[in-house]
Symmetry: C2
């Protein structure tokens, strides 16, 4: 029997590219993708024609043929698309690693990002966002008519339930927002680089959907991120050291319902399963993780994800994030770039590029996690779906 572990460290990330995160752009979504893709390919020391696998991102509406046409890819042998919302980019790494490990493709390009400010503003409406998903059908039929319309409302209910069950407070969410903002203040790429935030300011920020305040919500930005995955063997000769994919996993909730119909609103079951699979592949547990890049569409998602990934027990997230534990210098620095809350919202892909830069020692010195050897990255989609990646230091 083949074991999950056989995929561990067989493949590596060798290139990253990222557009600036802005509020407003003259580029199309595909234009943003191409800018990030060119940068990632060059970062890997490759030419576009070396790319023979592409995983486009569904949320952006691009397809493999866009990249064949625009980049010039004469030899594409692998393409597929993951359809799990904010978990898609990390799940796509699993598929890309499979294709590379088996020799189906040599260099796989993954791209995500959207015009989250100029076109697809999640604060405005979710209508038609993920058309065929049963979750959206449930929302469209039973919830939208009563005004339960946008993501902030949905996650507010999960946050409130967590508060009710476990005594979690708005200040706990605030600790996450403040820690992540502090990281953004050290990151010139971050949209919120210049804007500091105190816990008092978080607490004074208006409710978007009680109990979620303005500063509990991620940014709406335009931008894209790309990475290139190749084999661990080829990565040794790459322009920059490759980062081995030690573990990766995908998980889904069952049943996949809208958030109001979940059996337990306080949990992200898909991420629990994904993290368990990634740990099993890597042969590691939460203790081995030096730094975590957690999908942070809302602060509550970070809190629930820390629980789902076993950094603390169910309901203990509120206590875990206090006392600077998740800030740089703490026991588990989280979202060291500023994440989706304060760097930019790139469908989660910028969490992966930050993991790469931390492991390469390419970030600003004040932002570098000391002795950073293993980074966990998570994705979360549609309330239930999860994905987890454990990336290692160069071999």
């Amino acid at each position: 029997m083949t074991s999950l572990a056989s995929l561990s460290a067989e493949t590596a990330i060798v290139g990253v590219g990222q557009t600036p995160f802005t509020r407003g752009t003259d580029l199309t979504t595909l234009g943003l993708h191409l800018e990030a893709a060119h940068e990632a390919i060059a970062d890997a020391g490759l030419e576009p024609a070396d790319i023979d696998g592409v995983m486009p991102n569904e949320l952006a509406g691009t397809v493999a043929e866009d990249f064949i046409l625009e980049l010039g890819l004469p030899n594409l042998a692998f393409s597929s698309t993951i359809r799990t919302g904010g978990a898609s980019f990390v799940s796509a790494i699993q598929s890309a690693a499979l294709a590379v490990a088996a020799g189906i493709a040599t260099n796989v390009l993954l791209v995500a990002g959207r015009r989250g400010y100029s076109a697809q503003r999640v604060s405005k409406t979710s209508e038609g966002a993920i058309p065929p998903h049963p979750v959206m059908r449930q929302i469209d039929e039973f919830e939208r008519p009563f005004g339960n319309t946008v993501a902030a409302q949905w996650f507010a209910q999960a946050a409130r339930r967590h508060m009710h069950e476990y005594g979690t407070t708005s200040e706990d969410f605030g600790h996450i927002a403040v820690a992540v903002r502090g990281h953004a203040n050290l990151n010139p790429r971050a949209l919120m680089h210049e804007k500091t935030m105190t816990l008092e300011q978080h607490q004074a920020s208006p409710f978007i959907s009680d109990p979620l305040r303005l500063f509990d919500c991620s940014l709406e930005t335009d931008g894209a991120t790309a990475i290139v995955i190749t084999s661990a063997e080829r990565a040794r000769d790459a322009r920059k050291p490759g980062l081995p994919i030690l573990g990766v996993g995908e998980g889904h909730g069952d049943p996949p319902t809208s958030i109001t119909q979940k059996r337990d609103l306080t949990r992200i079951e898909g991420l629990e399963r994904a993290a368990a699979r990634a740990y099993a592949m890597a042969g590691l547990g939460p203790d081995a993780i030096d730094c975590a890049q957690i999908y942070d569409g809302f602060t509550w998602i970070v809190l629930a994800s820390l629980e789902a990934c076993g950094f603390c027990g169910p309901g203990e997230g509120g206590g875990f994030v206090r006392d600077g534990r998740i800030a740089l210098g703490g026991a588990l620095p989280v979202n060291t770039s500023g994440g989706l809350l304060s760097e930019g919202h790139c469908s989660g892909a910028n969490l992966v590029s930050e993991a790469v830069r931390q492991l390469r020692r390419e970030v600003e010195p004040a932002r570098q996690v000391a002795d950073c050897e293993r980074v966990l990255v998570t994705g979360e989609g549609d309330f239930h779906e999860g994905a987890a990646l454990i990336l290692g230091a160069p071999e």
Copy 2:
């Protein structure tokens, strides 16, 4: 270095399911998919809860969560979607095989099919069919305004060019239609089971788009097909013998343009590349194939696919299909179920189920290919994209 060959015979198809093909249905598209899925899972001797990977078909608009919700899949660890039109189902087999071979998933369910008669009639319009594809953008902008609207028109231009370049005739296309119809006449599942066709009838059938006649076009039917893929090792203990996936490959044309802008209208470049990859993985060539299930959206596609798969040289397809060579009893029986032309159009998935049944010796005796040990199945999408599968007899 991992070689392509390492994936050969590591995985197997262990279950197939198929709804009847009809003109009209009371079921939704998802309902058709579930009927086929239940049959495939039972055919594999499994319960729905044993399925931990799902690959839905984009053309049908279903997503993995539909199957989690409707079948009850508590443990899904792998899902992805291929977006290459009629090549998607065979390409999806590649991704499923990768996931199973690496131990990411144990049993992967693949489903395709649509309400091709009751809802998505390709003879009516292609508008919005594959929205984000650059090919469709090109058609929408430059060709649709001039009336170049439906698939029959597009492929008519390819067929006409083949005739111009190589002296191929409408009768050559007719030999394909007649051979495949003859197979349907032996297959009670085929929509055209009762309707015979002579070459004279083919030649007398009206032009849909010159030179393609009515009988050069595939059927518009409602229906779905599903398969289950597991490891070769587990397949040995399955309810029925597993069919090893000896080779599988995906290929794309470059550049991916609409058919009128292709560099060479007479070739399906993506399929040439896909077939070469599948042969390389299997360590076999065209000579080793006992029977071929060729994507037959139009008769011309069969002719060009036989060339792309190396059964004859470029331009030699017209000569190849004469003299009964592709009929049962000939050197290379093609589309022994009646295919999309005469059994039903199920986004190509029924070509895979027919390959399984031939190798299992489950077809009617008159339709059984003698000594059938290896079957080639192809997919074709969007003029350029191709996929090829080589399935072997039970080990």
